[in-house]
Amino acid sequence: MRLYIRIMSALIIENLYKSFDGIPAVKGINFTIDNGEIFGLLGPNGAGKSTTINMIAGVVRLGSGSITAFGYDNQREYRHTRRMLGVVHQEVVIDNFFTVDQALRLHAGYYGVKDDPAWRQLLVERLGLKPHLDKVMLKLSGGLKRRFMIAKALIHRPKLLILDEPTAGVDVELRHGLWEFVREINRQGTTILLTTHYLEEAEEMCDRIAIMNHGELIALEETQQLIRRLSNRQLRLWLEYPLTEIPIGLGSYSPELKENGNILLLRLPAGEGAGRVLSQLTESGLKIQDIETDQSGLEEVFIHLTGIKGA
């Protein structure tokens, strides 16, 4: 069973630990990414996300623990694991000596893969790099450099694509285009591990989300389940006739009257459905004209868990 899990999982992180100059950056975290999923790793600055990603990619040495990608250990069998990984680094990394086209061909070779003109062509077309193939990196705009980074990470057809803040400093249009492309390659079988500062994007993109803070994993759940469990929902009730005072027994829902008593606002505690409070209100004889629920998203969950606004 354990062997089956190892093979079926894209990535297994076990007791991963890393410190820099004696200061722990990652404190013994564990998680598994399933084959084919989009997995989000979120956390405030300095939470240990990039250190974790760099350990997976091989840029940072492991303090202790283990990383297994598609059944291979990333220390002992690094040649296997690195072939299956594509990494888009947070910092834009370019080589000014070469054109976009030359650099892409070279990158396929570094991974031991012969240049595949059809695949290279497809990548440059999908990422809008075709008119820029003969330009050296220095001549590319910031957005084009980002797109090139993605093409470079995909040129050897990785099974797991790691995106570390791929849309940082990128305009809205390009962000949408990039996420659309990421979804497309995910549908075609590539597993995705991403970090992003844009929580709404993570909420929209990720099947599961892990949240790190101070080097520890403080949450790991399916995205919607995490939001349902940890965010407060607001219930807005339009009443048939206005109230002058709040009915008794609703104290735990932080009740509030609005619009001259025509609207009653209630805040449902995390994890509680609306059924209980609605029965209570009906029993008390309150006539309700309409109901609206307002569920806050990942941002609120994030603030709730880390105490920090924004990832």
């Binding site: 091989g58 070279l106 570094y110 099974k159």
Partner: protein, 262 residues
């Protein structure tokens, strides 16, 4: 997307690609990497071969040009192999491009050999062109061409390793230039490029035997003109010994990822 590329993996391709990239890198800036050292060496040849050289005689039976040309060739080889590995690796570290390699399956031996062979090619190319230009000033006897080429290959290998080590230890461009300006340059100049150390009075003559570059320069010249300050065996032995030590050092640093992986 087809995600089963195992059968399409070519184990030698990462090495061949990195070697190709390193060669393309120096060819792309050939004015700086090839033309400039050749022009500098040509100026030396003109000064010592055609002007001052006619008034100097440091070795019985040979013109000064015949004496100095082997030294200038090996100096070109040394400076350019060192410059190639040190600048390429340091720039990669400094600008962050090294992570592009660290995430790939390029193994430490492939890494070292690709950087080394590209640097050796540049150094030996410069050396060969300097020799071709030198034919306008003097004809060399080429006593043992095989040994001369072997010594040039050892010199280029040795300084490619030294360049890798310097690039790893250097903190900035200043420290990197210190290696070439305050270590290699004095050792080359005092190692017998322009004069035979036998003409130096003691203790300077004896001190020169402590200069490791003396053995490279003397061994190369010995193989070309048939006369040297020391034996072939000692010159080759010392040079090979230093090359082995530096190679082991570079291999240890790169294998460990010292200052490459945090």
């Amino acid at each position: 997307m087809d995600t089963s590329p195992d059968s399409q993996y070519y184990p030698w391709l990462p090495f061949v690609t990195l070697l190709r990239k390193e060669i393309l890198r120096f060819l792309r800036v050939s004015t700086q990497t090839l033309l400039t050292p050749i022009v500098t060496a040509s100026l030396y040849l003109f000064i010592f071969g055609a002007t001052l050289g006619e008034r100097l005689n440091v070795l019985e039976g040979f013109s000064y040009a015949q004496f100095v040309i082997p030294g200038l060739i090996i100096m070109g080889v040394i400076n350019n192999t060192f410059a190639n590995t040190s600048s390429s690796l340091f720039m990669s570290r400094y600008l962050g491009g090294i992570v592009d390699l660290l995430v790939t399956p390029v193994s430490p031996p492939q890494f070292i050999m690709a950087y080394t062979l590209a640097a050796m090619l540049r150094g030996l190319l410069v050396g060969a062109v300097v020799w071709l230009i030198s034919t306008m000033f003097a004809t060399l006897p080429w006593e043992s061409p095989f040994l001369a080429i072997l010594m040039a290959v050892i010199a280029s290998f040795l300084f490619a390793q030294f360049g890798l080590i310097a690039a790893i230890y250097a903190h900035n461009f200043d420290t990197l230039s210190m290696y070439s300006n305050f270590l290699i340059l004095p050792l080359v100049y005092l190692g017998g490029v322009f004069y035979p150390i036998s003409i130096l009075p003691d203790p300077w003559g004896s001190f020169s035997y402590l200069n490791p570059l003396f053995y490279l320069i003397d061994g190369f010249r010995h193989a070309i003109i048939g006369v040297g300050d020391t034996s072939y065996l000692l010159a080759f032995g010392v040079s090979l010994g230093i090359a082995t030590v530096l190679f082991s050092w570079a291999a240890w640093l790169i294998g460990k990822g010292y200052r490459l992986r945090s």
